[in-house]
């Protein structure tokens, strides 16, 4: 019988499939960078459920989930929900609209124009965020990506609000410019994440 090192070297899987990383590298890179782009606003105690959203679109999806849960969870979500992402402020400014974040009850002040909407989402898919945690990866169309990048670049350290049917569902602090994709990194089950993707409407 060969020695243990010989056996391990003979059976080393990297001898056969080292190219796998090259195929998936860009996708994984985009995903983790998107997850680092936005931090949730926590000026009040955290809600019971961990919700760590990484981008605008991703957080809008949370609202879709909330609507799903509120509806009893029995119906299939459709993309008829109106989704918007708007810049927002912590302090009142003339011309801005006061609003309350549904999940945290924080009071914020919304800019009047939406940066991206449902129409700017190119694709969404379920993402495994941990052994039993699932999230959603959202990718934007070029026009939406450009608007979002410009808007968030000029708004670093301030808020980005996600609205569903006019209600603010979450408003994270922008930590760095948001690019072509977004991640919702919450403790969801696979079924919940799949319902969220269905709610966005493009996948």
């Amino acid at each position: 019988m060969k020695t243990v090192p010989d056996l391990l070297r003979h059976a080393d899987p990297l001898r056969e499939d080292s190219a796998h990383l090259d195929d998936a590298r860009d996708r994984i890179r985009r995903t983790v960078i998107a997850a680092a782009s936005v931090a949730p606003l926590r000026t009040t105690p955290r809600p019971p459920r961990r919700v760590v959203l990484s981008t605008v679109a991703a957080m809008a999806v949370v609202a879709v989930l909330a609507l799903f849960v509120a509806s009893g969870g029995q119906q299939t979500l459709q993309a008829a929900v109106r989704f918007e992402a708007r810049l927002a402020e912590l302090r009142p400014v003339p011309g801005l609209v006061v609003a309350q974040v549904a999940t945290s009850r924080d009071v914020i002040y919304l800019h009047p124009e939406a940066v991206v909407t449902n129409d700017d989402v190119a694709r969404s898919s379920v993402l495994q965020d941990g052994p039993d945690d699932f999230g959603v990866l959202v990718e934007f169309l070029p026009a939406g990506e450009q608007r979002l990048r410009q808007a968030t670049t000029a708004h670093l350290g301030r808020l980005l609000a996600i609205l569903i049917d006019g209600e603010v569902v979450i408003a994270p602090v922008i930590r760095s410019a948001i690019g072509d994709s977004a991640v919702i990194s919450g403790a969801y089950t696979r079924a919940e994440a799949e319902r969220i993707v269905a709610g966005i409407g493009r996948h």
Binding site: M1, K2, V4, P5, L7, L8, R9, H10, A11, D12, P13, L14, D17, H20, L21, A24, R25, I28, R29, T31, V32, I33, A34, A35, A36, S37, A39, V52, S54, Q128, D129, G130, P131, D132, L156, R175, S176, A177, V183, S185
Partner: protein, 177 residues
């Protein structure tokens, strides 16, 4: 991390510097390339949640990421073990065909099945020493354990692997402890 460096930039730099090393380790700790990619992604997603907690310096970054990856793998391994015990308890026993251990060349799949029985930390020590050729102090530093513990895992890992591969019954409960 520079004072004015953005979290996304920090995570991008960490990914670019360490993703290949992490994939190599992950691939040798898991059963498939897809599982390895998932493990690498999970490791960097944990990093994305708190990039400022990663220490500065290439060696310290690598050690931090390796520990996160192995801890994630350990969580997966424990859950899989619980599920397996549950399945064994609730399903009728299905006799499994045993590989031909008398063969001069033991099949790769047999070796990798045997590795699956080892705990992720012990398996990592074996992989880092026997396949990556790292020195004992380096392994100890990356895993955050003492050199004595590394040697102990290495010795036990070699012994466990030999016993599993030469036993006509394969893994035992002791191997899963």
């Amino acid at each position: 991390m520079a004072v004015d460096e953005q979290p996304a930039d920090r995570v991008a730099a960490l990914f670019d510097a360490h993703h290949q090393r992490l994939y190599r380790l992950a691939r040798r700790l898991t059963s498939s390339a897809d599982d390895a990619l998932d493990l690498v992604q999970e490791t960097f997603l944990r990093t994305a949640g708190a990039p400022s907690s990663v220490p500065i310096g290439a060696d310290r970054e690598e050690a931090w990421l390796v520990r996160v990856l192995i801890n994630l793998r350990r969580d997966q391994w424990r859950k899989a073990a619980v599920q397996k015990r549950h399945d064994e308890h609730t399903s009728p026993h299905q006799p499994q065909s045993q590989p031909d251990h008398g063969s001069a060349v033991i099949a790769k799949a047999t070796v990798w099945c045997a590795l699956d029985v080892l705990s992720p930390r012990r398996r990592a020590v074996l992989v880092m020493r026997e396949l990556e050729g790292l020195a004992i102090p380096t392994i100890a530093s990356q895993l955050g354990i003492s050199a004595i513990t590394v040697r102990w895992h290495l010795s036990r890992g070699r012994r466990d692997l030999t016993r599993i591969l030469t036993s006509p019954h394969g893994a035992t409960n002791e191997d899963r402890a």
